[in-house]
Symmetry: C2
């Protein structure tokens, strides 16, 4: 235990946002949150500042915090950058993975296979994350891993959403297969390209999803 309530609050508020209980654009009132969690405003403010730093909320001076509204444009951009970062990880992993790294990657890949076979989306989602983290680790570039992890975390809810799309799990697994093969063959460029394609597809699927949902602006009348 860290002894800091603010850190726990950070996670709790983050959950509220990621689960959709707090929707983009919604105001985050400090006293409401404080009473809700049974603490004073001080740790709440600290948690909010951390969330603002990670981009999940917008903090407007003297005007409080709102859940960040990430427009489709920015979302696509984030997936693009994510694709580049993960591609770099894959490229490095192909060059520098140890046997133990490769074993880890294969293990998680196999776990993905099992989840896909069972059509267990939640399990696949979880193992997918572990698979990507294993590749990050194999790149042996800590700072790159940190940056990649941070962005992956931010895109988490959206990735989860788009895994629900028809046939996406099987496709995702096939794409993983290509990545794994390239890494085991120590083919850096192929690994990078396979990984980039894998993430880019996710971004595209996500924009498809957005287009199909496309909520009319300002639905809330007054």
């Amino acid at each position: 235990m860290t002894g800091r309530r603010a850190d726990l609050l950070h996670d709790k508020i983050e959950d509220l946002i990621l689960t959709g209980e707090l929707v983009p654009g919604e105001r985050l009132d400090e006293v409401s949150l404080a009473t809700r969690f049974g603490v004073s405003r001080t740790p709440i403010r600290e948690a909010l500042m951390q969330l603002a730093a990670s981009g999940l909320i917008d903090l407007r001076p003297r005007r409080g915090a709102i859940v960040a509204e990430i427009g489709p444009k920015r979302m696509v951009e984030m997936f693009e950058v994510m694709a580049e970062l993960e591609a770099i990880c894959a490229r490095l992993a192909a060059r520098r993975a140890t046997e133990s790294d490769e074993a880890q990657i294969c293990a998680h890949h196999q776990a993905c296979a099992a989840a896909a076979a069972a059509s267990d989306e939640d399990a696949y989602y979880y193992e997918n994350e572990a698979f990507h983290e294993a590749i990050d680790a194999a790149a042996h570039q800590e700072f790159l891993s940190d940056q990649t992890r941070a962005l992956r975390r931010r895109l988490k809810p959206y990735r989860r959403l788009q895994l629900r799309a028809r046939g996406r799990v099987q496709n995702s697994f096939d794409e993983h297969e290509a990545v794994v093969r390239a890494i085991l063959a120590h083919d850096a460029e192929a690994a990078a390209e396979a990984m980039r394609a894998h993430i880019v597809v996710q971004g595209e699927r996500f924009t498809d999803l957005l287009a199909s949902l496309e909520t009319p602006r300002g639905a809330r009348a007054r």
Copy 2:
């Protein structure tokens, strides 16, 4: 004016670190800083948390903050990631730059030329930054620009340091020239490669510098 003292304090403390007045490993006492700047601990704490989010300081629960000690390994890693990000910017800029973007890039490039000719390192440093930001803008990828800018900001002091190395300004300018040519020719891969090389060289020069300085650990006896 923002009305938030914490924001100003953030910049002031940052300055203390970047100018070297506060050295890596040094403890940042909240009350000392508070009395120093004539405010209470509250805004100081907020500033410290912001600085921690940007990685400039380490915040250890219940044990206070220290100026982040960025080891040579991590520093090299940061330059590597920076090289990749800037390379992506250059690639996109080669593809998507408008005439106005190109004019901006050329203008700053020329200003660099003037500074280099005058051997004015400080002016060159300033214009160099503007040059890179112009390329970021030409990529038309806001999120990528944000990430790149954030990392550039973090590497700022180290870049400045290494510009002082003999002949580095002229070399830097020559490398810029290659980047500009590739962008104007809309040769995306050449632009990416030229930019990557440009940044990687900086990282190498920096590690050279580190090796030559190499301070013995724990110089402060007790």
